[in-house]
Each structure stands twice: as C-alpha cells, then as structure tokens.
Symmetry: C2
Subunit: 462 residues, 2 copies
Amino acid sequence: MQKEPFSEWYNDVIERAGLSDKRYSIKGMNIWLPYGWKLMGNIDRVIRKEMFATDHEEVCFPTLIPEDHFKKESEHIKGFEGEVYWVTHGGKDLLERPMLLRPTSEAAMYPMFSIWVRSHADLPLKIFQIINMFRYETKQTRSFIRVRECHFFEAHTCHPNAEGAEAQIAQDIGIMKRVGEQLCLPYLLVKRPEWDKFPGAIYSISADTLTPSGRTLQIGTIHQYGENFARPYDITYEDLHGQHQYVHQTTYGMSERLLAAIVALHGDEKGLVLPPSIAPHQVVVIPIPYKGIDVTDECKEIQRILSPQYRVHLDSRDVRPGSKYYDWEIKGVPLRLEVGPRDVEKKEVTLVRRDTGEKRTVPRDRLSEAVGDCLRSIGEDMRKKALGRLETSIIPIDSMKAMEKGNGILKAGWCGNEACGLEIESTSGMQMLGTPLSDSDESCKCIVCGKPGKSAYVARTY
Amino acid sequence: MQKEPFSEWYNDVIERAGLSDKRYSIKGMNIWLPYGWKLMGNIDRVIRKEMFATDHEEVCFPTLIPEDHFKKESEHIKGFEGEVYWVTHGGKDLLERPMLLRPTSEAAMYPMFSIWVRSHADLPLKIFQIINMFRYETKQTRSFIRVRECHFFEAHTCHPNAEGAEAQIAQDIGIMKRVGEQLCLPYLLVKRPEWDKFPGAIYSISADTLTPSGRTLQIGTIHQYGENFARPYDITYEDLHGQHQYVHQTTYGMSERLLAAIVALHGDEKGLVLPPSIAPHQVVVIPIPYKGIDVTDECKEIQRILSPQYRVHLDSRDVRPGSKYYDWEIKGVPLRLEVGPRDVEKKEVTLVRRDTGEKRTVPRDRLSEAVGDCLRSIGEDMRKKALGRLETSIIPIDSMKAMEKGNGILKAGWCGNEACGLEIESTSGMQMLGTPLSDSDESCKCIVCGKPGKSAYVARTY
C-alpha cells in the first residue's frame, strides 16, 4: 500500500482501521463502526469541554424543519434549496406542510429564539448541539469529507449588539485554536471571499487545513450574521430604555471533517496515527511470552498501574505479538508497551512510539511518569510536524505567470475585487480561500490588476 | 399546582424544570433543553456502561432506509408502514428510490449483517446504538411518552442458534434489572400477547411501569426474532461442518420514556425528584448569609471537598436563599446543603433531602462520607417507595364481574387464547399487558372461559 494516490490510501485506512463502512446502500450515508464512533465521541468530548468552559449550553433540536420556517431568509434558502432532502409523506398521507431534513439549524432554532429572547437579561444566548445533518450532495462523496448524513457540531449565539457578536467571534477563534491544538491539527484562518460566504452571513471565517493530497479541507467555520436572520425571524429584545432591538447573531460549525483531517494529516503507510488526546486506547500492552515463560501477571499489573491515568488496553489474544503490533498500528494507538520475560526480570518495560517508531526502555518504578511524558511528546511532535508541513506548503507567488497548478497553497496579492478573484480561480483551476485573518501582508499588489491589495490564499479544495 | 389531573402536572413540571420545549412548530417534535438533555445524557451513560460490560459494541447507522430494504420482511412492514415518514425528493429531484426515516433499524442494519456475518467466528454479533427515530404518530403526542422524533436505544444481536439467542434475552433481562435499579424504576416483566408483539418477532417481553395516572408505560422491550429476519435478509454463517445456517436474532429497546417514567413516578407537587445516579447536580450548596456575614469561602471549600466524588453545584446567584430552594426543588436536585454563619461557627453543614424534606446537621469533618450515605439512602428509599406503590397497585380479580374500570393493574386468570384476551380488553376498556415472566400463577382459571390458564396483567396503557 502506497500513500499515493492519496484517495486510495485514505479509503483503505478508514476501512482497515474499522472507522466507517461505506457499503450501506445509500451512497454517502455511511455506518459508524465501533472504533470510529468511539474516536468521534472523544473528539466531541474535546469540543463539549471547550463549549461548557465558555458558557455555552447544549441542546438538541428536532431534525425536521417545516418548509415555511426554512423559507424566511432568502439568501439562506438560495444557498441550500438545491441540496435538502424533503419529507413529503407520513404513512400514506401527503403532509399538508412539507418538511426538510436540517442541512443546518438556523431555520429550526430561530423561530424559537424569537420566543426565548425577550429582554436584555436573556442575552447573550449561547447554545450548541452535536447532531446529524443532511445534504443531498451531488458531487462525489468521500468518507468524513463529503457525506450526505454528517455528524455535525453547531453553536448559535445572540447578542445585544455588534460588539457582543464580535467578541463572540473572538472567543470562537480561541476555541478553534484549543481544539486544533488538542487534535494536533494546524490550519489557516481566513476570511472567505464574498461569493463563498455562508448563505445569509455578513462574513464567514474558515479554518482550512491541508491534506497530503494537496487539497485544503475546511474543518471549522465561524459566521457573523449581524441582524440578517434576526429581522426575518423577528428576534428582538427590549433594551434598558424599553426599546425593541434586533439581536446580533453568530454561528460556529465543525463536523466529522475533524476526523477526516486527523486521518489524513497524521496517518502513514502502516495506518492511523492518533493524537493521544482522543485515541480510544492511548496505550496498548502486549505480552511477549518466551520459551513458555508467562508474563500475563506482569502485564495485568502494568494495566492496573496505568489505568487510573490513561486509557489502557491489554491485548491478551492468543495470536503472535507481531500480528498484535500490526493490528494496533493500523488503529493508530499512540504508545505500545512490550513486556517480555527479560523486561520482567530487569524490572523494565519497553515503550514504542507509533508516530516515530522510536523504542526505549524505562524502569518499571517510573512507568506511569514515563508514559505521561511520552504521550505528551507524541502530541507535541505530531503538532509540530503537521504545522511544519502546512507552513512549507505555502508558496508565495507574485504574478499570474508564476501560478502553476501544483500541490499546496498559493499566497498571492489580491485587490479584493470579485472579478480579479474569479480570474485567479479560473486561471489556476483552484479556489480562492480568502484573506488571512492574521499575518496578512497588506502592502502587496493584486496579481491580476496590479492595484494595491492584501495577500490571499488560493488552493485546490475538497 | 395539584398532582391531579396527572397530565397537567406532568406537562407543567417538564416545562418548569426546563427539560423540553414543546412549542416547536411540528407537533410531537420537541426541543431538548439544556437540563433535560444533560439528564438524558446521564441516563444514556448508565445504559452504555451496562452494554459495554456485556460485550456490546456501539455503532451508528444512517437515519434513512431505502424503501426496498424496508420491504423485505412482511410482518415488519405491516407493523410500521402506517407510521413512517417518507423522503421523496432531494433538492428539486424526485428520488428514484424513496427512503424512509428509521422507525427502528432492522431494515437499516440487517442487509449489513448479511455482509458482516460470514462464519461462526463472527458470532455472536452484539451491537447497539443510541439515536433518534421517527414515527408519524396520529394519536395525541405527549413529551417523552409519545413523540414523533424519539431519543432511542436499540441493541441488535445475532447468534448461531436458538440457545444463544435465549441466553442473550436472559442477559438483557439482567441489564434491564440493573438499569431499573439505578434509575429507581420498578416494573413488571411480561410476555406480550401474540397480537401485541413486535412486528416480525416470535415473542416480545416488555418492562411496564405504572404512572400515577393509573396508566402503565412500556419502558423497555426485548424481542426474540428467531430466524424471522435472517431468512428475508439472508443472514447466514458457515458452521463448523461447513454448512450455511441462518443466525438467530434478538433486539432490545429503550427510549426517552425512561425519563418520562422518572418524572412521573418520582415527581411531587414541588417538581422533579431525581435519582442521585443520574441527577445533573447531585448536591447544590446554598450560602445563607446573615447580618452581613459572608459564607462564600466556606461554601467554596465545601464544593472543593465534594467535587472529586459528587456532582456539586454552588448557587452563588444574588437572590434570596428561599428562591434558590424553590428553583432547585423544581429541578429535583437530590440533596441541598445549607451553609449559614452558625454552621460555619459550629463546623457543621445542614443537609436537606429533596425526596423526604428531611433535614439534618452533620459535622463538617465527615461531610463527604455523610453526603455519600445520604445519596445512597435517597436512592434506596426512592426505589423502595416506587416499588411499594407498584406492588400495591396490582389488584387480583377472579371474575369478569369484578373487573372495574379503575386505576391500577388488574391481575386475572387467562387461558392464553386471543378471543378471551380480546374479550377481557373490550369489557375492561383496558389492554392485556401479557403474562408475567416470573411469579406467574399457573393454576388459575381464565376469567372468560373458565379453562385452566395463567395469571395475566391488564391495565390502561400509554
């Protein structure tokens, strides 16, 4: 198995690691297998913790949205009407009011926000949900990247004014940073061009990471709605002066694409490589009996010592150690502990890192500490390595001529005009990701029209 | 607010405790509010733990099922076709293959089981999922009891033979028992009559509890499928002799009705009363400042001491203690800790039980132990009290004349014949729950025909 072409490797590793089964008879609707579901659950846990720490509350709205609620904000409908599934019948009855499967939950939530929000004391309203959403994708589907039923996180907030909403966006950027760190996912934070913002938003910010295929993957989005939804959905509050004001809204979305990125950015020819923060097993203990000397007791003792602090699995199956190594390498377990009779005798344990293959022996009496250090190092090294790859994949270009269709992310001057942006897209065959939120070079010239502009990123995308 | 009529009290307590909002514009599809969703999550955690401990693996299947897969088992279709939602369009396209929203997942899972199960080594296959399911209910909807989108748990297993399937059912009964204990929910375990079994099952076992309205509520079901689904879905394995055999299957289902039962069985005129095992806050600490003496530090210290072992909330809002009591009584927090200047001085803490209102003072240096003892007692007492009520509500009757339309569960002799069963139902205006799985009196006479029979339960149901 080769990492090239990327797509084949990607599909293969998802299958072999037991993350997802795409043989379900509706294309793009896949089955979460036990290991994949556990992994996704651990990612959800990272997100939940960040959301609770920033005073968001978790809710769960219905999956179905009545057509009339969906049709209230016109840009929003235009953006989604081609890709929603419609429920038209209940039993044998034609429903009077057709309903759609949520592609996102603005139209489900905002009529309720209109009821829930009465006065300034109800603000800010900060909620999130982790649910399944549906899109009738017509493009080629791909596990975790482009699916028709998607495991989705969405936060929705209401604020008394623009400043409140902007402060929320700053908080969201901080959450994205901490989630990215824990999942060892580097990304570029960009403001999307006007023609690619979320339908109904004033502006959209995206976190884009780069996969080994050379395509970028959007792994998080933050949207400023201003009053764009508050007006059609009539979400107002009474301010301190007794005046009714529209709320200002934001949303923040992430999805199973986080898992796609973890698979893509860290996996190698042996299989997955999982960040310790979310690995279902952080440590696997492999007994290596030799000449009939049983080491089971020692392995159980090691499991007992480590279990209070780490997620430890003892593989006591009756198969050769080599085939256990192989299985757990596919599944990306960060740290393997090998325990043979000599280790027992010398009161040592052998640690093998999944990410580097590095092997070292540590005294048994400081095992717990050594495992902790090692898992921390693995996380840090995975983070650094992925960040290094992203940074070196950014290619500054200063003319249309220099634009080549290659892997990576092009950084070019752009005046901000749609016409020039579309020209860059059509010439490169790539997409305009947008202008970086920080580190933006504000003194460059547009590579199309030569007028003053900012730096912008251009790449092939999923 | 009175507990009578029950329905009003039930709706009111759900609203005031912030469990669910039923003002969503599709009737029977309600919004899980933060407190309700946390509570449901804690119930899910109890279930998950039991399932993992019995070697089940968690998966997540797609929500949509293609029509042709659904139509494979004829009894199953007949049972559900009147109450499924149909997805007919994607965007503006009429779908070639209509799809339905799962009312249960047999038709989603079993085509995959047919692929997954190859040999005896693949058996038993034991999986479960916790998901949302959909039924186009035409009867009156009621929060957590009869809804159109339902939070649902379903386990599906495959075994090499009937013995394996029967052993699974015995295990499921054990799981139901432990779940019931943890949630303080007593129930009757009955074998449903033929005409009321799950569509496609050989037989169905139900756990029925009794609500204060006098109606029973089905809170768990276990089904023996035999080969009934394996044949149409072609789920076979190669046995040790190289012969292809059909698997034997079972399922086990529970839902948000567990929460309905907790609300209904334990709540009182002040609001919810939650079992400590699943209360989002097990303990709430209320500072009682007096004559300007601040007790915040002591309360924080108490929170710090208890937090490692219990779910503790310190209510430091700037409102009167009395209104804090009121709020947390509605939300059913099992134990309230009151801390005033005299308590600080005397190195004591006052504990108030939600279930009994009982108040006692414990020395601060054994607070953690006292809280643990108290929570355990609350759980035990709630369990006992509810069980006592269930047991005293069972009314043995020995003739059709003695059958009155009243609250409670009638226990009558029944020959097992459908005609007599339906006669009992029509005369009483109640439903035949079925014959008890244990404690069945096998020497009684059918109250309709006088032939020898077993005891059976009859009740009004939800």
